[in-house]
């Protein structure tokens, strides 16, 4: 295997984590990673020496994800995912033991895909604003506003699920 492929191989766990936070369903997420790897291999010559493999691969994945969302909306498909299939969650059920952890995975899926990407890119994947804006192809100001709105939306959704649990307890 050549050096470039070795470098790509090393990024697979990160790509899988990013895909899982975008799509949650494990198989759909791995499909996205596989599409990303296939496209990367087909365009290996476009990968400029010196460019970080991570940024290059995340950019490819971002375009594939956006294409997928567009195809879905053109077909009138909802971006709904099976919500109560524990096996389909981001982490195995035992790793999502706490209600809080399940709630946050649900809530993340409920925020808009563009905000979700921006937030995940910075808060989970640890990219700088400049890197994330470059990968997502938006100005830094747009990225920041997506992050801010994403965090606020996430907070509201988490509060709602906490309140729902509280109401259930009161009803019992």
């Amino acid at each position: 295997m050549d050096d470039r492929k070795t470098a790509i191989l090393a990024e697979i766990p990160r790509l899988r984590r990013y895909a899982r936070s975008l799509l949650r369903d494990r198989d759909s997420a791995d499909d996205l990673v596989q599409d990303c790897l296939e496209r990367a291999l087909a365009r290996l010559d476009n990968w400029q020496s010196g460019e970080s493999p991570r940024r290059w691969l995340f950019t490819i994945m971002h375009h594939l994800f956006i294409d997928q969302m567009r195809r879905r909306s053109r077909r009138g498909e909802a971006a709904f995912l099976p919500l109560d299939n524990e096996e389909a969650l981001a982490a195995p059920a035992e790793q999502l033991s706490s209600a809080a952890s399940r709630d946050i995975v649900h809530a993340l899926q409920a925020i808009g895909p563009e905000r979700r990407e921006a937030l995940v890119m910075v808060a989970i994947e640890g990219f700088s604003y400049a890197e994330a804006a470059g990968i997502l192809g938006v100005p830094a100001g747009t990225l920041m506003s997506r992050i801010a709105r994403g965090r606020e939306e996430l907070r509201g959704l988490l509060d709602d699920s906490t309140r729902r649990r509280a109401i259930r307890i009161v009803e019992k």
Binding site: M1, R16, F80, M144
Partner: protein
């Protein structure tokens, strides 16, 4: 740096490591003096930790063979079965085109992979497509007869249904109607804004599942924002910019919950 005004924007920058070092002390001082902002910052930080924790396990999972094989240039297999919700969504389009929302009563729940959230959203969207387009017959009971509508829909659906006040978001109540939802009943509340854009709030007391979700942001057609909990489900449907729809939906949902608990 002294005298710099800080705002919520700086909270995000600080959390993301983007606040210039020279601003750090002044920022911390500002945060200390603003308990509300400090609480917000702490909350965002905690949510961030929870997010990282929820996905941390993925990094240590073994790489699936098909991904490694793809990289090695072998023909990697793909997972075969189509997603069941994809098929279900296609069925809804057919239903919406035919205007036969009642047919859902027969078809809903037939697929093994169908989830309650799919059904709720599909029914809500089908109802919106059919009824929100009606000018004269969109609702069975007009908003002018609100008390009667509230009593009637509450008793039919089986939960205390207080129509949310969406006036702060620019929507007034047009009225409501009763609909089939699977083998049960649902209430549809129709709202309209000054521009004539319509929004429907679909509520059912029957749900065995829990969760919440939304359409893709880029959707041109009606988009549903829904919440499901054991015992009730709610979907807000409209063709609005996603930010506005999310805001109205969150407001509607909060008020519905408060109404049920009242």
């Amino acid at each position: 740096m002294t005298g710099r005004d800080f705002s919520e924007r700086d909270i995000h920058m600080a959390l993301d490591g983007e606040l210039p070092d020279e601003d750090r002390m002044a920022f911390d001082f500002w945060l200390n003096a603003n308990p509300e902002m400090a609480a917000r910052s702490a909350r965002y930080a905690a949510d961030g930790e929870a997010l990282r924790a929820a996905f941390a396990g993925v990094l240590s999972e073994p790489v699936p063979a098909r991904l490694a094989e793809t990289l090695l240039g072998r023909t990697a297999g793909r997972r075969a079965p189509p997603s069941p919700w994809w098929l279900a969504a296609a069925a809804v389009l057919l239903l919406a085109a035919g205007g036969a929302s009642g047919y859902l009563a027969g078809s809903a729940g037939s697929g093994a992979g169908d989830t309650a959230s799919d059904q709720l959203a599909e029914e809500a969207i089908a109802a919106h497509v059919v009824y929100a387009a009606e000018q004269r017959h969109a609702v069975e009971v007009p908003a002018s007869d609100r008390d009667h509508m509230e009593t009637w829909l509450s008793s039919r659906v089986g939960l205390k249904l207080v129509p949310p006040d969406l006036a702060p978001d620019g929507f007034h109540l047009v009225g409501g109607r009763l609909l089939p939802a699977g083998s049960h009943k649902a209430a549809m509340l129709l709202y309209e804004d000054a521009a004539g854009d319509r929004l429907s709030v679909f509520v059912t007391a029957e749900s065995a599942a829990r969760g919440s979700g939304t359409y893709a942001e880029m959707a041109d057609g009606p988009r549903a924002v829904y919440w499901l909990d054991k015992g009730y489900g709610c979907a807000v449907v409209g063709v609005l910019p996603s930010g506005r729809l999310n805001a109205v939906a969150a407001s509607a949902y909060r008020q519905l919950l408060a109404g049920m608990a009242s």
